[in-house]
């Protein structure tokens, strides 16, 4: 019992990121409106970025900008700076996320121009009546 409580408290950031990921996944599958699905996709993406950034955290370390040393050739201890590698990967991920958001919203405007609604069940019923006519 003590063991389980210790595990839950020591890793609380993992539980939060799992909650956010499942919220985004549920919104993408089960919501009817197209804009809510797009919001769910973005919540999913930022939860993944939170996971990666929280891997690179070190206790008692500072931000990954090397302090100016007056005699340039002192050894730099890498244990007192944060890990810069997840930050680099997540910079790319954020900007690709906003590009995908722009394309998804252009698709939503195009669907609205054609079917005059943004609810998924109304769009599907319109498509079904059109194929039954043909």
């Amino acid at each position: 019992m003590e063991d389980i409580v210790q595990t839950v408290v020591a890793k609380y950031n993992y539980w939060i990121y799992i909650t956010l990921m499942m919220m985004g996944l549920y919104a993408m599958i089960a919501k009817n409106n197209l804009i809510k699905k797009i919001v769910g996709m973005n919540i999913f993406q930022t939860a993944i970025i939170l996971f990666y950034v929280s891997i690179g955290v070190k206790k008692g370390a500072t931000i990954p900008i090397i302090k100016a040393l007056h005699g340039h050739h002192e050894a730099i201890n890498p244990a007192e700076y944060m890990n810069p590698l997840p930050h680099v990967l997540m910079l790319t991920a954020i900007v690709v996320g906003v590009a995908t958001l722009g394309v998804a919203l252009a698709f939503a405007i195009r669907v609205y121009n054609r079917y005059n609604t943004l609810e998924e069940d109304e769009i599907l019923s319109q498509i079904r009546t059109k194929t039954e006519e043909i």
């Binding site: 609380y12 799992i18 070190k58 090397i66």
Partner: protein
Amino acid sequence: MKAIGFVIVLLTGGFLIYAAADFPGWGDPNSPASLHVSPYYLENTVEQTHVPNAVTSVVADYRGYDTMFETTVIFTAGVVCFFLLRTLLRKEPEDRLYRHVLTGVTIRVKEGKLPPSEEFERIDTTWTPHDLIIKTICRLLVPFVQIFALYVICFGHYSPGGGFQGGVILGASIIVYAISTDLRSELQRIREKTDALLSAFGVFLYAGTGALCLLLGFNFLDYHALAPILFVNRVMARSHGIFIVEVGVGIAVMGTMIWIYSVLASRGHYDEGL
């Protein structure tokens, strides 16, 4: 559909919680993510590239290939939005709306236009009354925002910042001008061809720097090759190479943000907007 969604979410969540018990504890300096490659980057970034910001030197020099393709992805997103929504041929003749300033009466003129005069001003279909405070403050704010964006791009070596952030802030300055006044007046200042050419020029600057290093006899995106052109030693050549590449990324991101905003806000017709 909601029941299927619930079942999938519970299964995936349970599996992830079971897998999370094996992860290293939070904040452990001996976790495997921090032991193998990143100490090399942290120790050698100042003496090999003379850039103290470890994230900028890794993103633009040690892992520069990924950043080049990311810039290409941003440019492709702008092109895709253009292809999806833009209508170029207009079949029906456009009718314009004018408003008499003194009395507030709106007239619609089909197939023609009135000569510019003091009494009538041209308005959009969705028109809001002239708000003096917002227009004046946004017009005063735009040059300061642009100077701050240029500062962010240039100081990416020594403080948090870099090409992406500065490019987005530059694009946001033009968007705030377009929101406070008409979209039509913003489109008269920055035409669509300028946006597209700016995005393409940013990608060309990045890939062109890499190709220049290749033509001078070194590897692709190896900035040592720029040392004889810029008349500096090899370590400073890498620092200047990082700066040129960040400027290219900033220009590409600015062009794409303005382009996507004007395509989305005007629904593709490019005449009136928010």
